[in-house]
């Protein structure tokens, strides 16, 4: 389990996370939703240690991640996979080299072993015959799939996804969502997903945390979100004409 306990984070005078506490359960897709500027991305970056928190704690199980040195964090980071909004693939490496990168850095596997693992991960995200292509030569959806393959290469316990289907068409977005959900269950990972996309919420939202003004405003599952009487949440969930009509 991942837990943020009374976490606060400010940039100058602007308080982004205000004494926020939230838990993310293992084996489930934990979605963080909220309006732009609500603090979702800052929360995720605090969870993975890209931002230092001002107060509170970030825990991975019973390990206090937020108080660790860079060297101590490295151990936990080898249990983390992360899918960035733009994929964050290394431009100078091929698809195959991108997936093998964590293996090259942290294992003593031989090249054929690493290639086997890379091929397995790429086939798991249904991306074959793209091994030798560079990120600039593949589509946005393919980039996300390569990024997922790279994220799962080290068999992580924790998977973080920042806006995994931004910039994708609804069909491809759905494929990515389902892929993340399948992988989460298959490896019993604790998956944390930042999203704006209500389709993702309905498709894969095992546990949903609505962040508003830097605080946890509501928490529940994909069924209860549609029945909630929380006004701010309703405003977010039923923001479009389509969702209002569906309601």
């Amino acid at each position: 389990m991942i837990e943020a306990r009374n976490v606060s984070k400010a940039f100058g005078d602007h308080l982004v996370l205000n004494d926020l506490s939230v838990k993310f359960e293992p084996g489930k897709c934990n979605l963080i939703i909220g309006q732009s500027g609500s603090g979702k991305t800052v929360l995720m970056k605090c969870l993975v240690g890209l931002f230092e928190i001002d107060s509170g704690k970030v825990l991975y199980g019973d390990r206090v991640f937020s108080r660790m040195s860079f060297e101590e964090m490295k151990i936990i980071r080898q249990e983390i996979g992360m899918l960035f909004q733009g994929g964050a693939l290394f431009d100078s490496m091929t698809v195959e080299e991108n997936v093998m990168f964590p293996l090259s850095m942290f294992t003593n596997q031989t090249l054929p072993e690493k290639l086997d693992r890379a091929n397995f991960c790429l086939s798991r995200v249904k991306l074959e015959n793209a091994n030798k292509l560079y990120p600039a030569e593949i589509s946005g959806g393919m980039k996300k799939r390569v990024a997922i393959a790279r994220a799962i290469a080290m068999n992580p316990k924790y998977l973080f996804c920042d806006e995994p289907n931004s910039g994708l068409d609804p069909l491809t977005a759905n494929v990515i969502d389902k892929l993340i959900s399948e992988i989460t269950q298959e490896y019993n990972m604790t998956t944390v997903i930042n999203t704006h996309d209500m389709n993702s919420v309905i498709e894969i939202g095992d546990r949903i945390s609505y962040i508003h003004k830097g605080q946890l405003w509501w928490q529940g599952d994909k069924d209860s979100i549609l029945k909630s009487d929380n006004p701010e949440l309703n405003q977010f969930v039923f923001a479009t004409e389509l969702t209002r009509k569906l309601k």
Binding site: V48, G49, L50, F70, M73, K74, I75, R77, Q78, I80, M82, F84, Q85, G86, A88, L89, F90, D91, F101, P102, S104, M105, F106, F160
Partner: protein, 248 residues
Amino acid sequence: MIKSFLFHIGRYILLMRQVFKKPEKQSIYIRQIMVEIENLGLDSVGIVAFISTFMGAVLCIQMAFNIDTPLIPLYTIGFVTRQSVVLEFSPTIISLILAGKVGSRVASELGTMRVTEQIDAIEIIGINPATYLIFPKVIAAVLINPILIMMSMILAVFGGWLAGVLTGLVSSSVYVYGIKAFFESYDIFYAMVKTVVFAFLIVSISGYHGFYTKGGALEVGASSTKGVVHSSIAIIVFNLILTKLLLA
């Protein structure tokens, strides 16, 4: 302004502490250093050779033009060309040119990696991004730049000979006598010390600006410009300091 200067100096020192931490896997770093030697060094051979040869030629012609009294022997042309090239032109001017070429490359590469979250991705994997990205570049530059500068010295002296002989300003034997006259090997040592320090400054300062880029394409361009300008300023300042320390 002073506050901002001190902030950048402090952050630069902290970054350098990160850069020189023990690398995760040495075999990967050795391969990275080889790649950077090619990117930062071998790719610069053409421009260094071209500029050095022509500048050597110009130095020789200017020297010959300025000798207007028979009291100064003609071999002075070769001697002064060599001294100018070894002491200042090759280590300093070529380093300034490399600050433009290599510095902009390093800053824009790291800046682009920062704004596209590639540096964050490296950090999340559990790798120290400062060491992984900047350390091989620094080592590559420190290793390859002295070779480039030696090549520059040879080509500049050759360019001077070519210009002097072809234009009839000085005979080949007199020019060669001049470049051998009063040779001090310490001058080469002085030039190499400067080259190594300048190589470190170029890559580390440009790397610093690239590494801490925030924003998008415009900011990557701004980081690249800052990298070149600040490393050039550092070269000029350290040129004075090293000259005072090593020659005075």
